[in-house]
Symmetry: C3
Subunit: 238 residues, 3 copies
Amino acid sequence: MSMPKGSNIGQFVVIEEGVKLGENVTIGHHTVILKDTVIGDNVTIGCNCVVGVRKSRNQNMRISNSSLDPLVIQANCKIGNHVSIYSGTTIAQDVFIADHASIRENVEVGPGTIIGRGAIIELNTKIGHDCTIQTLAYVTGDTTIEDHVFIGPCVSMSNDKYMGAREYTLKGPYIQEGAKIGNNATLLPGITIGSSAVVGAGSVVTKDVADFKTVVGSPAKDIRYLVSKEVSEHDTTT
Amino acid sequence: MSMPKGSNIGQFVVIEEGVKLGENVTIGHHTVILKDTVIGDNVTIGCNCVVGVRKSRNQNMRISNSSLDPLVIQANCKIGNHVSIYSGTTIAQDVFIADHASIRENVEVGPGTIIGRGAIIELNTKIGHDCTIQTLAYVTGDTTIEDHVFIGPCVSMSNDKYMGAREYTLKGPYIQEGAKIGNNATLLPGITIGSSAVVGAGSVVTKDVADFKTVVGSPAKDIRYLVSKEVSEHDTTT
Amino acid sequence: MSMPKGSNIGQFVVIEEGVKLGENVTIGHHTVILKDTVIGDNVTIGCNCVVGVRKSRNQNMRISNSSLDPLVIQANCKIGNHVSIYSGTTIAQDVFIADHASIRENVEVGPGTIIGRGAIIELNTKIGHDCTIQTLAYVTGDTTIEDHVFIGPCVSMSNDKYMGAREYTLKGPYIQEGAKIGNNATLLPGITIGSSAVVGAGSVVTKDVADFKTVVGSPAKDIRYLVSKEVSEHDTTT
């Protein structure tokens, strides 16, 4: 293909047929842009990435019709090295995706959001604008994350209540506007984390968390309840 | 080498000497198949993989004689992008290995098993048939996982009781037929998780779990004991 | 460039301008050595690596002046496959860095240290000599790890007390000489783990841990206190 104005393409880059490249696009060495991928103006992609992956699967895995759509990466995105992104997904403008991250099919990532190093976003998931998904965080499939949410490093989610044992409509967490999840917290399937709620680091969240509440511990409890209980224990022992 | 019938080999693929390829094999762009690797019929490998790695090491690391054997990937396996697999390991037929996964030497993966995105399987480990090892799960070395086991996302295991402080025969968990481990659970070295046992999400398992038991919490306790205790606490406070 | 004595360079390797290679260096297929990187004698680098990355960023991310310095990898280091390392970082001699690991800018890794498979080391971090950072461990930015420290698999750290909500000087943990952190433990921002202290697997450490203490649980408490409490509970119930 003929390259648009301002392109900066590394060595051993593979660009398959049907790819649409905007202006001033930079692509690092050894990166692979698969069939029909759409890349906006001023996008930077690092080395050794694979973008526009069509879902491969075995008989026990789900597919999604939207995986037939192309991957769209909008203007001004910056993508690191060793990243994989699937077809059927849209990355809005000004998104930053760090090295070794992986994003599956039928995902929407809102403008200005940061996806951390080694973070993994599974299929059928919607992430709002100006979120931070930190390093090695795991966002399971069928998850909704609203705007301005902070997901700390190594946060873990799941979407399968019965761990494959029964038929079940898979449902990840629903994390509302401005919520903050501390590092290495565990979120169970289908729970809601309310607007501006805070989950402490290392907590295990087994129930919904109301708006503006802070929960900590395993299982996670309202921090105000825990403080009052600790005070009353002191009362009885002194 | 001359390619077998039905081969579909991407750009910039490296296939070293002694590699044996079956029929109808697909290999993505930039993938490296190292010396003597054996790949069965109808295997699909994505882009940017490195398979058949010979162990490199420093003076403090273990080796295994079987790492001198080739990597064998049997028929109908599907392997994603950015995957690394070592020599001395056997992947049985119909296995699915997702993007960014890594499997060390002297590992056996049974037929029909799924290894999730970014999951890491260490050396000297045996995984049965029809297991699911989910995204970012960490299976330590010297571990045995029987058939039909479910390992949730971000599950963590260890095999070194003294964390390098003493001489110790490394021993990972022994996870029996049909057990289910919830996401981000922590398993200590050498414990047994019994047949059809369930470990709750985020639990920290410090002792053996009997067949058919469900344990939750940090440290993990039998869920029936916890429920009865909660009831009796309510009795005394009301 | 002309290759030094004993070089062993794979296929499709990219070596950018200004790179300095020592003698007897081995570089695997498809690896990219970016501008000005300095590689010492007898260094081995695997396939599909990207080393010497210059920081890309969006407007919400920090930079560091030292990221203008080159990456320096000293003699006898062994680096696996799919590894990324940034400029402005120094890897001392005899370090082992396993597959899929990622190390950011302005990091110092001391001699003889092992960085595990998929481990991630963030910016502005100093790691001493003869440490073990195990598989999938996450070392946050602005962290100090002294010598002979053991960080177990999947350990998670954070450096941002307010999760992006306020201005705050980011500060990771300070882990002193010979401390040992069990697998999947969670460390909060700015805490000190004392010399030879031990943190149990799966623990959530919310406060400083004194030298030689062992803490376990969520939140982590001194193990001697927990044992005595358990004994006294038994006393009252029997």
